[in-house]
C-alpha cells in the first residue's frame, strides 16, 4: 500500500482528472479529494477519516490485480526512463478505446518519518492494443531535473476505463520503486 499526496492547485499526470471522472458531478467539492484504484473509489471533504479511508483501503486490498507488471527505472541525465513489461489479466483488451494508460508518479522520500510524500514529477504513456492474456512492453520517461537521485522514488500505475463504467477508471496494477 502506498499513500501519496498531490497539490490540488498544481495537479500532475492527469490523476486529479481521474478523481473528477469518477465524481462526474458538477458543483463544489471539498478538500481533501482522495481516491484509490484510480477513482474506482473516491471520497472528499470532512469525514470520519480513519474509518472511511480505512474501509476504502480494506476494500481495495481484497480486489484482484488486473495485470502482471514489471518495471525497471533508469536515471539518464535529467530523465527517469521506465521500461515496463505488462501482462494483461483483466479479461478485457486494453487499448486506446478504454483509455488504458501507464502513469509514473515521481516523488522524493520525505525527510520526516511518517510524512506523506508529495508527487513532484510525472510521466505517462498510452497502452496500445493488448489482448487479455498477452504481454507487451513499452518505454516512457519522466523529467526529473533537480531531484536528488538518492531520494527519488516512483510508482507506475496501469489503469483503464473498465467495460460497464462510463466514467470511473480502475487500476490494473501498480509497481513502486526503487
Amino acid at each position: 500500500m502506498l499513500i501519496i499526496d498531490q497539490d490540488v492547485d498544481a495537479p500532475l499526470g492527469g490523476r486529479l482528472d481521474r478523481w473528477f471522472d469518477s465524481y462526474n458531478t458538477p458543483g463544489t467539492v471539498y478538500l481533501p479529494l482522495v481516491m484509490v484504484d484510480s477513482g474506482e473509489q473516491i471520497d472528499s471533504g470532512d469525514t470520519s477519516f480513519t474509518q472511511v479511508y480505512g474501509d476504502m483501503l480494506d476494500t481495495a486490498l481484497t480486489r484482484p490485480a488486473g495485470a502482471r507488471m514489471a518495471v525497471e527505472a533508469t536515471r539518464i541525465g535529467s530523465v527517469l526512463q521506465f521500461d515496463v513489461s505488462i501482462t494483461n489479466t483483466s479479461g478485457e483488451t486494453l487499448s486506446a478505446a478504454n483509455h488504458a494508460t501507464l502513469t509514473a508518479l515521481v516523488y522524493e522520500e520525505p525527510a520526516t518519518a511518517n510524512a506523506i510524500p508529495l508527487v513532484v514529477r510525472t510521466g505517462t504513456t498510452a497502452i496500445t492494443t493488448l489482448a487479455d492474456g498477452d504481454t507487451g512492453s513499452t518505454t516512457f520517461e519522466a523529467t526529473v531535473t533537480g531531484l536528488n537521485p538518492s531520494t527519488t522514488r516512483w510508482v507506475v500505475i496501469a489503469d483503464y476505463l473498465p467495460a460497464g463504467s462510463t466514467t470511473a477508471y480502475d487500476t490494473l496494477q501498480a509497481v513502486e520503486g526503487p
Binding site: 500500500m1 499526496d5 481516491m35 484482484p64 490485480a65 510508482v155
Partner: protein, 271 residues
Amino acid sequence: MQRWIVGIIVAAAAAAAVSAQTLYIPASANADGVNQTRWRTDLQVKAVGDAPASFTIELLKTGVDNSEPTTTEHTLAASESLRLGNVLETDFDYAGTAALRIIATDGGILATSRTYNDDPGGTYGQTVPAVIESEAFPFGRDATLIQLSRSPDPSAGFRTNIGFVNAVDSSTAIEVDVFESDGTHLGTLTRNLPPFGHRQINDVFHAVGADDVPDGYAIVGTTSEDGRFIAYASVVDNGSGDAIFILGGVEVASLPLDPRLVVFESFMRPG
C-alpha cells in the same frame, strides 16, 4: 465541467488510514436442537498488547436484515481476556442462531468462540474462529469448503450444513456449487443474503438431491459485484451430534496472480 474546489481545515486528513478492527464470528447459537440438544456459544475476547481495549458486539440474526443490529459494548483492561458465556443469552437475551460482528472501538482485540451442546453429562461442540473482515470473499473470488460428507443413514456417518455471513450493508447473492470428491457436480443452490445477513443451508447435499456422499466439497461465490461474504461448513456426526467447523478457503488458482499494490492518492493544498 466547471470545477470548484474548496479547501477546509482538516487536521486529521493526513493521518495514516487505519480502519477499526472488525471481526466476524460466523456462527453462534442459543437454541434447542434435535435429540434434546441445547446449543450455546461462549465468546472469548482478549485485549492485545499492553493497552486496554473497547469493543462492540453486533447481533446478526439469522435470516433477517441486520443493517441496524442490536449492539452491546464491553471494555477490557490491558492484557485482560473476557469470556462471555452463552453470549446470545447474556448479552442479547436472544434465543436462536446468529453471526456476531465484533468491532474494536479502541485498541486491538483477539477473539474466538465455541458453540457446543450444553449436555448435563458433558459438553461437546466446535470452535468457531473469528474472521477478519478483510478476509471476507469479494466478487470474483470463491470460497472452497472441503472435508464434507453425507450419509443416508440418519444415525451413522455425517451430514453437512453450509452457512454464510454477508459482510456488506447491501444484499449479496450467494451461489453454492456442490461436488463429489472426484469433481462430479451435484448441483447448484442460490441464496440471497440481506445486509449483514446470516443464513445456513442444512444438509446441503440432500438439498441438491444427493443421498450418499462419503467425501465432497463445495465452492461458494457471489454474483453481486459489491458483495462480500464469509462461508463455512459444519459437518455433524449423525451418531453423536459432534461437529467440526470448516472455514472457506482460497484455492491457489483463484488467488490474484500478483500481490496487488494499492495506491491511495490525496489532493490537498500543502500547508
